[in-house]
């Protein structure tokens, strides 16, 4: 019995020491390329994501993340004709996305300073669709479900050091859509670069 207890303790210690850290806080700069272009089509570098990860063991982690990005596009001046009216204007389409997700992470390496990983994020996305034309604007808000598979890597500068870096690519799909503006579900590719502050 004593041998069994000692063996279990040694095993726990080994696992604890092998995992990347206890936890980590990250802030990422996010670049998004929409793959559905109903409303916006330009690649945007105006995005940021902030998150917290709990490293459960050497292969699995879980976390939460909040994100924001803004996408835009320009529609040149043209005339829109409807029964009884017509309007001529150019339009700046803006799409503001706010996400709050939970995620699970799988680490391909059990040790080392460089750890590739795969993650799956799922949560809610709040979208504000805004049309700016001259001094005027109009908006519609929608909330939907978002899912984001992601491949990336963590790099810890030195063992037990607090500073690290993170890079990832992902594909995001959200159920948000606007009937008023005839905009379908949102999807896009994203690339992230950021810093990670490790705890232990």
């Amino acid at each position: 019995m004593r041998i069994l207890a000692i063996s279990f303790f040694v095993l726990i210690c080994a696992v604890t020491q092998a995992q990347i850290a206890e936890s980590g806080f990250h802030i990422n700069w996010t670049i998004v390329k929409p793959t559905t272009t109903d409303f916006v089509s330009k690649t945007s570098s105006r995005g940021v994501r902030v998150g917290f990860t709990k490293f459960i063991n050497e292969q699995f982690g879980a976390g939460i993340e909040g994100g924001f990005n803004v996408l835009d596009d320009y529609v040149p001046r043209q005339t829109y004709v409807q029964p009884g009216s017509a309007i001529t204007t150019d339009i700046f389409n803006y799409m503001y996305n706010y996400t709050l997700t939970a995620n699970g992470q799988y680490y391909f390496k059990k040790s080392g300073l460089f750890v590739p990983y795969a993650a799956l994020h799922a949560g809610v996305m709040f979208t504000e669709y805004t049309l700016f034309y001259n001094a005027y604007s109009e908006s519609e808000n929608k909330t939907g479900f978002v899912v984001r598979p992601e491949l990336g890597a963590l790099y810890r500068v030195k063992t037990y050091g607090s500073l690290g870096f993170k890079a990832a690519v992902g594909y995001e799909y959200a159920t948000n859509k606007s009937e008023n503006y005839n905009i379908g579900n949102f999807s896009g590719l994203n690339v992230q670069f950021g810093i990670v502050l490790f705890n232990n």
Partner: protein
Amino acid sequence: MKSKILYIVPLALLLGACELQPQSGELARDMVVQTQYDQPSVAADIFSTYNTFIIREDTIGYVKRGVNPDEAYVTDANFTGIAGGYVKPIIALTKGNLSERGFIQVAEEDDPDFAVNIVILEDFSFFQTVNYLPSYGGYYGYYGYYFPVVSTYYSQYASMVIEIVDIKNATGTDYKVIWKAFIGDLYTTFDLKGKTLEAIDQAFVQSPYISKD
């Protein structure tokens, strides 16, 4: 070094996340031109029944909260900073477009078929909040302006409204607005005169049904 990175990187990220709206210079490049027409009248080809119109020669209406109705107009004396004036070129261009469509300007005593009103609305919201009644009692005539029915809130926009009012088929004091053009914003433009004139032409371009033929 590490502390510098910790300060610089988040700052760069925040800067990257800025520019959340289009720049004002880009927005003000061209004015918005919206036209509306009375569908039954246009379906009945009412413009082909018109021959003559009336329009004020040297003033346009000016509607703003707190402005005395007796002073609710502007002339070129109000736009001394604009070479060649602002009011008369607007009126001339409107008349020119109507003449090209086959209509003849006449005096009030010549019993015109329709009247053309041009009004600047200031501090009124644009499309949703300026709700003209489909027909309103008492067309005040060539020498009077009227106030639109404003339903909601204050805004900082200034818009020009051009109206065609049916006089020929008026019943009693009930005059119907056949066509309206909303042009704006007059505040934010960098070329008030040039862009207004361009917008007036566009209002007629997107209204091909305004024609004698």
